[in-house]
């Protein structure tokens, strides 16, 4: 089974990808409307919360944090997939990533943009949010550099900037293709964005070097971002949060949920944009195998945490663990264990892996599990920490749910806009992939390069290298 049809014509690639950016149809607008409606729910809830206080989400003492923070970690986690696919797999030359990394990278940026909203939404006086940044004032007041929340602010903003830059840089050759094919406002947009890309040698050389550099920069950054997010918990002294293995555990969870989200979007894009030629079953299989490996790493780290809590014999931590096992939140805990550690076994079975509807459902379940994981990190600890008088079970209120719900709409909207403006499959990298595969197959590359393409509108440049 091949990852991609090596015989695909380059012009065909352009045509297929550019087709996905054509004027949207009704279904697209329905999707946009749905997302906007979801955002509207969140906006109404947020205005209400802003006006009347955090209490209406049923946050309370001791549940000062709840699903806002859980969802924040969820989105941060989801952002790790793009980096994994573009940067890590780029460096290790796993070229099957090429048809799918673009939307994964977009997902990184957008989930970070979603995640970044949550700390703002969740703080009590959000109009003072900028105080966590070290800006210069005549009062000489600085943020508290010891606080993991300040690290968060740095880490997330750095990561957001870098990943957006990475996404953009990787897109420049493709934007040039778009430029060459676009009319009207799009033309202007792509002219501006493609930065005069002509595809000459020097540009390619510089481009490759920059891209590699960004990839190398992004990998430790991605790992550190979720480690820092985990230190929101690991740096506290709360039982169930103060866990040494949290950084790798969080990173594993992040990659896990990111991969699951890639599968989801993979299926959707493949279906709606008829990208069967590029998003092949073989690539899906590879993604699934990767996801399975990460799932097992995550499960292992999870079990390690339980074991170390158990053998560590700290009374309070043990109590939190036991409460997770059979307390009021136990159904969600076991659902998380089921979704996170049992469901992925379907990924190990070839038959399921190749069955797209199954994979779609499985990927959603995995992400549900990952969302629950974050909730089960945040809430049970708050529910059963050191001081027994403050033991409390709290179920999030409608305001919280509405905002969490709306965040999916926000992410969806960003993604919908993206796929219509930017190529969601990397054209030049798919061409490279096809080229290399052909080369490996021993074909005459020269011949392939110059094979005329029929039925495709010729663009500028040499035949067969349109826009490259």
């Amino acid at each position: 089974m091949k990852d991609i049809n090596e015989d695909i014509k380059w012009a065909q690639i352009n045509a297929d990808v550019l087709r996905s950016m054509e004027t949207p149809r009704l279904g697209y607008w329905i999707a946009v409307a749905t997302c906007v409606a979801m955002i509207a729910c969140a906006v109404v809830a947020e205005i209400y919360q802003y006006k009347h206080g955090m209490g209406y989400g049923l946050l309370n003492w001791p549940h000062m944090w709840d699903i806002y923070i859980a969802t924040f970690i969820f989105w941060i986690g989801m952002s790790h997939s793009g980096t994994l696919l573009s940067a890590i797999l780029h460096i290790i030359h796993a070229d099957w990533r090429k048809p799918i990394y673009r939307f994964a990278e977009a997902m990184t940026t957008f989930s970070l943009m979603t995640a970044g909203l949550f700390p703002i939404i969740h703080i009590g006086r959000l109009w003072n949010m900028y105080w966590v940044l070290p800006y210069v004032t005549d009062r000489g007041i600085w943020p508290n550099f010891r606080s993991p929340l300040v690290w968060d602010a740095f880490a997330i903003s750095t990561y957001l900037t870098s990943s957006a830059l990475f996404l953009y840089i990787g897109m420049i050759p493709d934007l040039a293709i778009c430029r060459d094919n676009a009319r009207g406002w799009r033309k202007k947009l792509y002219i501006a964005l493609s930065l005069g890309w002509r595809g000459d040698d020097r540009q390619w050389r510089n481009f490759r070097r920059t891209y590699l550099l960004m990839a190398c920069f992004l990998i430790p950054l991605a790992v550190s971002v979720h480690s820092i997010v985990s230190s929101d918990f690991a740096m506290s002294i709360m039982p169930g949060w103060h866990v040494t293995t949290f950084p790798p555990y969080f990173v594993a969870g992040a990659l896990y949920s990111g991969c699951a989200a890639i599968i989801t979007l993979f299926v959707l894009l493949r279906y709606f944009f008829r990208f069967e030629e590029y998003m092949t079953i073989a690539i899906l299989e590879k993604t699934c195998k990767l996801t399975f490996a990460i799932a097992m790493a995550w499960t292992y780290l999870n079990l390690i945490e339980f074991a170390s809590t158990w053998y560590g014999h700290d009374v309070a931590s043990k109590e939190v663990l036991l409460q997770k096992f059979y307390g009021p939140y136990a159904p969600f805990f076991w659902m998380m264990m089921f979704c996170g550690s049992v469901v992925p076994f379907t990924l190990a079975i070839r038959k399921f892996r190749r069955h797209i509807p199954t994979m779609f459902v499985v990927s959603l379940l995995l992400n549900l599990g990952m969302w629950l994981e974050r909730w089960m990190i945040v809430t049970p600890t708050l529910a059963n920490a050191y001081h027994p008088i403050a033991w409390d079970t709290m179920w999030p209120g409608m305001v919280q749910w509405a905002i969490v719900f709306g965040s999916f709409g926000w992410f969806g909207l960003l993604f919908l806009v993206f796929v219509k403006i930017f190529p969601s499959v990397s054209m030049y990298e798919v061409k490279e992939m096809v080229y290399h595969r052909r080369g490996h197959a021993g074909k005459d590359t020269e011949e392939v390069l110059h094979r005329p393409v029929e039925g495709v509108r010729a663009t500028t440049g040499r035949p067969g290298l349109e826009g490259a």
Partner: protein
């Protein structure tokens, strides 16, 4: 005013010092009007404040707390004309600078948003706002000199009243020739008072908890809803110092005192007297305590209750009875006290008398129980309330014996049990005058309502219902200008009433301040301090008290022979109802104070509502858990209330603390919880005629409530009732404590 001998005597009576020895009169100019600062009435902006006013700096003034009858001294912090905080007055021998939660919350009584701002007059079914002139005219027409109301047809129904207010009240009654003063307090000591009088010769002797090394409390919640909670709490603190005293509490459901006991025992309700007899038996039989000072009848009665029999009747194991006897004997001096849950039975007097007999047997009289002496100012002494007066008043009202009733400081429509039908009977009195700070259930039934200024806006003097061994006249001075200009202090209202009746005597006093000022200048020389009248007055205000040491006396000890009816089971109503009073809600008067509503109950930690306490066994039988609803049904009616299950209640008892269930008491209290007093059975103490609060038999059943609203929900503070092995409250043994911290 003349200084003639014959007049002086009556004049002293007017001034409230009669019976206090010789006095010299001296004239003095009376200031006509005053505000907080003597002689100042103009309102000055703080741009040019008075010398003593420093904007931004609080000044502390002394006064007296009026949340219960204990008369604790307070210091009120006043800043820019506002009262901000009250603290205990360290000079006060009652509170010794300390204050309870009710005293702290007195600020909210003062600033309550539901206070009456204008007089109310009944027009048809409604009470409508009126002017003072209209209201006083209304009263004058019906109870003035020309009204023709005479003798006992003019009645007063009040709560505890003392000091010069009592003097004026008495003068008002005397002007009619009436003796119909009914003093109603639900939380009272009437039963033990009579027993004390019979056995010790004094209604309210002084208890010395601090001197006792062992205290056996038969339902006496002295730290909670008692006659002087702060005073007893300060004593308790010394009682607990090394060498540490031991506290044994016997009661049907746990009180605040019970929660602090070393041994908490739930005896079968109403058998506390038998327990006392059993203990006496053990003391005589096992510890060789001499019964020589007991009359033969008493000795015989004790013999009738062997330890086994007592154990059988009370349900307290023999070993525990023996242990109590041993403790009381070995840890002399001891003290045996009784409280509402023991006294609130048909034979409550007998139980109180049995406890006193134990005190006599243990030799506590003269040790931990001493005489409070003859009061220095009998005219000012507290008229202590009870429930018997309420019955008497209701009966009189029912028979049409009263033309007019003046009501103040009590809310009988709320506290009267349903069987009394009090509302109907009250409505038979043609003219009902009420003085009140708030609209409550009783005020709502009045024909004319005079709005009172708060205790912190009023002058007054008070004598505590329970006097420590340093009795004082507690002085109440206004700490700020009245918030509502159309309110008057109790004293001023009383003066206004008296001016209708006795214009010759009282028209000389422009206001109550003038009266008090004059009264203090007429103070018998024996009690004058500080030299000049003015110096004495200033000193009295600075300390807000005036020593009123009485004549010392010795207590007699003549135990009376009592016996106890056999404990009877009631098949139809198998459970006992315990309407426990709590430090906080008290008798329900504090239900309109949000701080106290929001303060979790000391025992159950319930806020903003009622609950019923059940033993886990009983709860299991009924199939209820915390928050489930039960119905508590007596022969008189039924209430539905959520349950709190814990092991601090006798399995045959359902305890429903009182204080909630108001129907017309402002925004914070109305429509909240239930009032267990309404279902009380018609049982009274055989000897005193007091309502037997704890004698109601009830049956309890589970009630299915579909998703209760917030109003019905039982809200409790706290997630875990267990420390789950974490060292939050730890303890050491008394032995070790006495070793390490003993003198």
């Amino acid at each position: 005013m003349s200084g003639k001998e014959i007049d002086r005597r009556s004049f002293l009576k007017v001034m409230g010092w009669s019976g206090a020895g010789a006095a010299t009169l001296s004239g003095c100019d009376l200031p006509t009007t005053v505000t907080i600062e003597e002689g100042k009435e103009t309102v000055v902006s703080y741009l040019m404040p008075e010398e003593y006013v420093i904007p931004g700096q609080g000044v502390w003034y002394a006064s007296t707390c009026q949340q219960c009858s204990a008369a604790c001294g307070v210091h009120g912090r006043v800043r820019e004309g506002r009262l901000l905080k009250v603290e205990g007055n360290p000079s006060s021998p009652i509170g010794r600078g300390k204050l309870c939660n009710m005293g702290q919350a007195s600020l909210q009584a003062h600033y309550n948003p539901d206070r009456l701002k204008k007089p109310l007059l009944r027009k048809g079914a409604e009470l409508q706002e009126a002017t003072w002139e209209e209201a006083l005219k209304y009263i004058e027409e019906r109870a003035g000199k020309k009204s023709g109301v005479q003798g006992n047809r003019a009645a007063w129904l009040t709560g505890n009243v003392s000091g010069h207010q009592a003097v004026l009240l008495q003068a008002h009654m005397d002007s009619f020739g009436s003796i119909s003063h009914y003093v109603h307090e639900l939380i009272n000591t009437a039963v033990s008072g009579l027993a004390n009088k019979d056995v010790l010769g004094e209604v309210q002797p002084v208890y010395h908890l601090d001197k006792a090394k062992a205290v056996l409390s038969l339902g006496a919640d002295f730290l909670g809803a008692s006659t002087s909670p702060v005073h007893f709490a300060t004593q308790y603190a010394s009682f607990r110092e090394a060498p540490r005293g031991v506290l044994i509490q016997v009661e049907p459901s746990m009180s605040l005192t019970g929660a602090n006991a070393d041994l908490w025992i739930p005896a079968r309700p109403g058998t506390e007297g038998v327990l006392a007899m059993g203990i006496a038996n053990a003391l005589i039989g096992q510890h060789g305590v001499s019964a020589a000072n007991l009359p033969a009848g008493v000795k015989q009665a004790i013999d009738g209750y062997g330890i086994d029999r007592a154990a059988d009747i009370t349900g307290v194991p023999r070993t525990q009875i023996e242990a109590i006897a041993k403790t009381l004997k070995e840890r002399a001096p001891s003290l045996v006290l009784t409280g509402a849950s023991a006294e609130g039975h048909a034979h409550g007097y007998n139980i109180a008398a049995a406890a006193l007999m134990l005190n006599v047997l243990l030799g506590n009289v003269g040790q931990t129980i001493t005489s409070s002496g003859d009061p220095a100012f009998p005219q000012l002494a507290a008229r202590a309330g009870n429930t018997r007066d309420l019955f008497a008043f209701a009966e009189g009202a029912d028979k049409g014996a009263f033309d007019v009733v003046f009501m103040w400081g009590t809310n009988p429509v709320y506290t009267a049990p349903a069987f009394l039908n009090f509302e109907d009977k009250l409505s038979k009195v043609p003219v009902k005058v009420a003085f009140a700070m708030y609209r409550d259930e009783t005020v709502a039934k009045a024909d004319v309502v005079l709005p009172l200024s708060s205790p912190y806006e009023s002058w007054g003097t008070h004598l505590a219902a329970y006097n420590s061994d340093e009795p004082t006249v507690a002085v109440q001075q206004p700490l700020m200008q009245p918030i509502y200009p159309d309110t008057k202090s109790v004293g001023d209202v009383l003066l206004a009433l008296l001016k209708m009746r006795e214009p010759n005597t009282y028209s000389a006093f422009n206001d109550y301040y003038a009266y008090l000022r004059k009264a203090f200048s007429e103070l018998p020389a024996t009690h004058k301090v500080g030299g000049s009248d003015d110096a004495m007055w200033v000193q009295s205000l600075q300390r807000a008290l005036l020593a009123a040491k009485g004549t010392p006396k010795e207590l007699s000890a003549k135990p009376v022979a009592v016996d106890f009816p056999a404990y009877e089971k009631d098949a139809a109503y198998p459970m006992h109802l315990a309407p426990a009073a709590r430090l906080g809600m008290w008798d329900g008067r504090n239900a309109n104070l949000p701080w106290l509503q929001e303060q979790p109950d000391q025992i159950s930690k319930v806020v903003w509502g009622s609950w019923a306490e059940l033993h886990p066994k009983t709860a299991d039988r009924l199939g209820v858990k915390n928050g489930d609803y039960i119905s508590v049904t007596s022969a008189q009616g039924s209430i539905e209330v959520p349950v709190y299950v814990y092991r601090g209640v006798h399995p045959d008892v359902v305890a429903v603390p009182i204080g909630q269930g108001h129907t017309d008491y402002g925004r914070y209290a109305t429509g909240r919880g239930v009032n267990p007093l309404k279902v009380l059975s018609q049982v009274t103490d055989g000897k005193t005629g007091e309502l037997a609060l704890y004698a109601t038999r009830v049956k309890v059943a589970k009630v299915e409530k579909k998703k209760p609203g917030i109003n019905e929900l039982m809200v409790r503070f706290g997630g875990s009732e267990s420390q789950v092995g974490r060292k939050l409250v730890a303890s050491v043994t008394a032995d070790s404590f006495n070793r390490t911290e003993g003198a």
